[in-house]
Symmetry: C2
Subunit: 334 residues, 2 copies
DNA sequence: TGCTAAACTGAAAGTGCTTTCATTTTTACT
DNA sequence: AGTAAAAATGAAAGCACTTTCAGTTTAGCA
């Protein structure tokens, strides 16, 4: 016979035939109640396995071992890999990992305004999401240790990536390989609540092309809503141009995958006829031999929790700003 | 101006000229209140330094609004996709998502014995992990609603996958395509704490081969520790056989990816010289045009939370056992 | 035995917050 | 413009206890 619900003080009252007030008293001011009554009450309490739940919860959860991660709803593999990094770093500590996924501006605002108050977290990791002054201030005011990944705030811990530099690296690599007709595909600014690394990568690309004195026709830069279909269409258009590019720099590996798929579909040989370079170095990149800019996704998550834990242990530490290095991983597509 | 007691929600209401209900809402369901109102409220909260009393909150709150997911440490994409399903289904409800990752037998035992007592969850999803009689009983006794994914227990909600049948489908498909020399690659039983769907898939494969009267030499079945390197080596060995198979059934897409990579490396044309079929239908499968058995990963997660929520709402419901359908997704590798 | 003070007890009124429900306001669509 | 549908909001009814207050008992004592 399994118990149904958690017993309340009322159940105890009923079972012992004594009013709830008295029960409450034996729990809080036992010396004020008749020992016999007290014994009866205690007996009933034991038999029912009653535990004042509200307090228990308040106590149990207060300042307890919880760390939260707020991240865009994980569609993109890169978010997942960052998350994997935090999970792995947290595995040995005995912190609980609470995930908040964001899928709209409203939701992120909601989290930012309620988390400091109600979800008592020991620390928070904000991933790939912009955070506004006053929201950040609230976290600071409420003493919640926070680390920002892929975004920066002067008074908070940050882990940044130099997307511009990454764009430069990728482009320069292609140029060094002798390419002159280089195109760019990437996602256009998607939602109001998301950061947009692709634009910095694009800047790095353009800048490098300019410095190298290379021509960059408008048709060689395609931005689109980030879906596989759109990415493929953009690539198809590009490869059907009178003078198609000999290399494509995709703002993210996931888009590079679409480029590769189209190349296969159109019988374009990679890398002979078309070089492809991506950005991120997601897991699949390795399976596809995709040349790409590695941004140490797992590592960023791991580092975030390390910084967080260190600051929880000693809140007086000054905020830490780290810039993760980028590496060009040469594989077979470029 | 004089500093008094701790401000309550009523003070905030008075100062902002907004009802306590709305104040409460901005704290708990921020997305349901008008951004302007929210800003006003937050402003007042900040100015007053209001902090909701945890115990009062616990008192008024019925459940804990937390649902937990316990899952193998997410190395494999399939775990991630299941998780994505639960996150997406949970996004609209406002339950907090707590993740427990398992990387050893000890850890899983730790979770199973402590979760019922200390982490007050409204519900738990156990993913791709076996659970023993007495552990299950503990959850049952403590009235924690639970749903098992990829495992089964008579008294608990379960979402099962017919791996055997999937093995049959994949194999039959290859046979129908005219293949006679079909090989199998898969991971061997890895840890004591993990379930092992590959073995059921292998059984389905063997059974189907037998029924079709096809010869299955020992070298055509390769099991290995699940790493990319081992998978690739196994494939290389197989393709170097005097009579290499004309088709390979990989127990999981992630392994099929390795097969594909080796085929590329060795210049073996897919599907002309070698057909490849996988299992799972992970995201990358689509990008690689991998023919595979889809097991509705995202859906399994979504369904798990739906069942869980329904049972939390009405605990008297009898446990539900659902078997998710499998579909053969025909793409270009077989 | 009668009377009063001390000891005990239960009904009911908080406690600070959440949530339901009905009402108003906005928006969307003929 | 006119209406249906959706969103936002406040009043009020909980939630699971604690505390107050007004009785009852009981004990002590003449």
């Amino acid at each position: 016979m399994a118990k149904k619900k958690k017993p309340t003080i009322y159940d105890v009252a009923e079972r012992s035939g004594i009013s709830i007030s008295t029960i409450s008293r034996v729990l809080n001011n036992p010396e004020k109640v008749n020992p016999e009554t007290r014994a009866t009450v205690l007996d009933a309490i034991d038999k029912l396995g009653f535990v004042p739940k509200a307090e228990a919860r308040a106590r149990a959860l207060s300042g307890s071992n919880r760390i939260g991660v707020i991240t865009p709803f994980f569609t993109a593999p890169s978010f997942v890999q960052r998350l994997r990094g935090v999970a792995s770093a947290l595995a040995t500590s005995n912190y609980e990992l609470v995930i908040y996924t964001v899928d709209s501006y409203d939701r992120i605002q909601g989290y930012f305004s309620s988390i400091p108050f109600v979800s008592n977290l020991d620390g928070l990791i904000v991933m790939s999401l912009p955070i506004q002054k006053q929201d950040a201030q609230r976290f600071l005011d409420h003493g919640i240790e926070t680390v920002l990944v892929e975004y920066s705030h002067p008074e908070m811990n940050c882990i940044e990536i130099d997307d511009f530099q990454g764009g430069v690296m990728a482009t320069q690599y292609l140029i060094d390989k002798g390419h002159r007709c280089i195109a760019f595909v990437g996602d256009k600014e998607p939602h109001d609540f998301e950061i947009h690394p692709a634009s910095a990568r694009l800047k790095g690309f353009k800048e490098t092309m300019r410095k190298a004195g290379l021509d960059l026709p408008d048709e060689y830069v395609r931005l689109f809503v980030n879906t596989q279909e759109r990415a493929m269409q953009a690539t198809r258009d590009m490869l059907s141009l009178p003078t198609p590019p000999t290399a494509i720099f995709a703002a993210a590996d996931i888009q590079a995958l679409s480029v590769l798929k189209v190349a296969r579909e159109m019988g374009v040989k990679v890398p002979e006829q078309l070089a492809v370079i991506g950005f991120d170095d997601i897991d699949s990149a390795e399976y596809l031999d995709l040349t790409t800019i590695r941004q140490h996704l797992d590592e960023s998550g791991k580092l975030a929790v390390e910084i967080l834990l260190a600051h929880i242990a000693d809140p007086s530490r000054p905020p830490q700003h780290v810039r993760l290095p980028l590496n060009l991983i040469e594989r077979k597509t470029a």
